[in-house]
Amino acid sequence: MIRSQAVLIVVVAVAVAFPTPAAAKDDNQNSIGSFLNELPVEVHGFYEIRSGYRLRKDKYEKDMSVMETRLQVDLASYLDWADLKVRGDVIGDMVEEQADFDLREANIFTRPLDFMDLKVGRQILTWGTGDLLFINDLFPKDWQSFFIGRDTEYLKAPSDAAKISLFSDFANLDIVYTPQFDLDRFISGERISYWNSNLGRLAGRDAIMGTDKPNQWFRDDEIAARLYKNINNYELAFYGYRGYWKSPGGQNAARSQAIFPDLNVYGTSIRGAVGKGIGNFEFGYYESDDDQNGKNPLVNNSELRFLAGYTQEVGRDFTAGFQYYVEYMLDYGQHKDSMPVGLDRDRDRHVTTVRLTKLLMNQNLRCSLFTYYSPSDKDAYMRPNINYKATDSLALEAGANIFFGDYPSTFFAQFQNNTNIYVALRYSF
């Protein structure tokens, strides 16, 4: 939270330090007042109540999966030289029995040159072609919010970064510099129980994962780049990333803390019309820099990741999407040799996803189902959701997060006891 405040202060300070030309011209004793007059602020947001329960007894977690009220306030101001934006949530969280503030955005956007955009500060960042699967999008995710049934927008956690975008006829380039590593809000046991391989059992609040994370400013930094071009509306992109595994990618020698080893990613993607629908393909080479040869059992091996997807409208107001995703571990022999028997992983992990979305009642009722199914892990995760817009400002929502699988340690099956249903009411303004 201290960092949130710091960012906010920086944004406001910079804004105040550069009054608009019009304000400067006035140049009277009341320059602050005229500055404020020049600063029409748009205020929007929503108020939300969300309540959810586990459907199965989980001895490591509370029965309530989510129980919170949330006020999001979104302030935007358009100056001659820049756009300012601050968006944050105040949350009364009854599961954690505390009030919280989550600053989602606090940034300055400007177009200093015809061919350049610049956005500095706290921001949400997304690129890549997957639908709820990410290869070259190495920006922070909030898996905890995702699994407990918050709105999908909370899957993306904010980054404190500078994004520079350069545009040309040849291609466009985005560079995102994050001076201090922004990790995922990963599953640590606080809200979601998980498979703890050290304990060899499920764990939750009894064994909240300790972490040792890179956190030195300007040394433990991240840089991500995307070079992209639209060729006849086929969107081609190349990606590069230098940073760290965003969720724990290993453990320290004492196996007491999760660590975030060095990671470099190189990838590409293409997306465009295929037949009646939209097809996409994405690839990424995950180079686990702290375990180049795969011999270190405490650090993730390098991987190749592939994704292919297709979406089509299959009926009136009815859309279906399908994806196939593979993680292929490199140096698998070294991994097998270095791991104790029984703790080694499969070489590949395959995941398929299906998204079905149907709109009813003049598109005011949306029914959707997103399903992950892994044929290799033999587990699945289903996300049914119904959203009804009672009026232009009031929406009612109900949904579930359903996990199942054959083995307790696989990616989705480990969350079986977290299977939950939720309802929500949101008033937007």
């Binding site: 997304t126 466009n172 639209n230 939209i278 005011n364 009026t391 400002s393 303004f429």
Partner: protein, 277 residues
């Protein structure tokens, strides 16, 4: 959000449903009574009037949807349009302002007139910073939950219907349009009344498979803007659902020299000032 996904388009500005034209495919009218042009000429002129005024343009659109029970819902967005070539492909940029939950969402459409090529569509969701590519959809689907259909707005390709001039009054040409593939649409035919002087389509009457009138679109108010006759208020009534939608255009401007780049990912992620002011 996905409610906006389905549909696009928008060709609202300058709009008026109906007569998208493929001149070469329009059957020749048999005869031209004095001062009465051939059917294809009428149809072409109406199409140009409805969709291609100026090289580009901008408007703010306010839609009010009134249900049978009298409940009202509002949609408000700013639309920018640029013609790739006159009478042909077009690009649209739509910035949603209301309702609040879709505020700042952006829609870009590259409309292709060719029969074989689907429109390219993108949607930007600001809360996720997500650029989505939208699959081509059934064009007889509601636009943003209103009583206007995508096809009312983006224009129905004339090659899909046969056209006949069935009536000529002092003010209007009335053209009957019969679909060549009857099973792909819910109507059996529709009549369009076109103003003889301006060629603005004034009214469209849709008849169901039993031949009963069930849907009417009317141009309620026309203004001259930069010498272009422009429909600034129109209304669709659906007799089957007893629902209606009114659409009002304000701040209409033509020939504002929109940059081609506005219809690319750069501005999808961060709209130009033209789009939000």
């Amino acid at each position: 959000m996905t409610r906006y996904i389905v549909i696009v388009l928008i060709l609202f500005v300058f709009m008026l449903p109906g007569l998208a034209a493929e001149p070469n495919n329009v059957p020749e009218a048999k005869s031209a009574v004095q001062e009465i042009p051939a059917v294809n000429t009428i149809v072409n002129k109406a199409n140009m009037m409805a969709y291609y005024q100026g090289r580009d343009g901008k408007a703010k659109v306010t839609m009010t949807i009134t249900s049978k029970q009298g409940q009202k819902r509002e949609r408000e967005f700013i639309i920018l349009r640029k013609d790739v070539n006159d009478g042909g492909d077009q690009k649209y940029f739509v910035y949603f302002e209301r309702p609040a939950d879709v505020r700042r969402m952006v829609y870009i459409v590259h409309k292709h007139v060719g029969l074989q090529k689907d429109d390219d569509r993108w949607l930007y969701l600001p809360a996720l910073d997500l650029v989505k590519r939208i699959a081509a959809g059934d064009k007889r689907t509601s636009f943003v939950g209103s009583d206007f259909l995508y096809e009312d707005i983006s224009g129905r390709n004339l090659a899909e219907d046969t056209h006949e001039l069935i009536e000529t009054t002092e003010q209007l040409f009335v053209i009957k349009n019969v679909p060549k593939k009857a099973d792909t649409v819910e109507f059996s035919y529709y009549n369009v009344s076109i103003d003889r002087k301006t060629f603005v389509p004034m009214k469209m009457d849709y008849f169901d498979k039993q031949g009963k009138l069930y849907r009417v679109i009317e141009s309620k108010k026309i203004e001259m803007i930069q010498d272009f006759p422009t429909v600034v208020q129109s209304e669709v009534t659906d007799m089957k659902t007893s629902s209606k939608t009114e659409m009002v255009f304000s701040g209409v401007k033509y020939d504002i020299n929109l940059d081609e780049d506005i219809f690319t990912e750069r501005y999808l992620r961060k709209p130009p000032r033209e789009a939000i002011r």
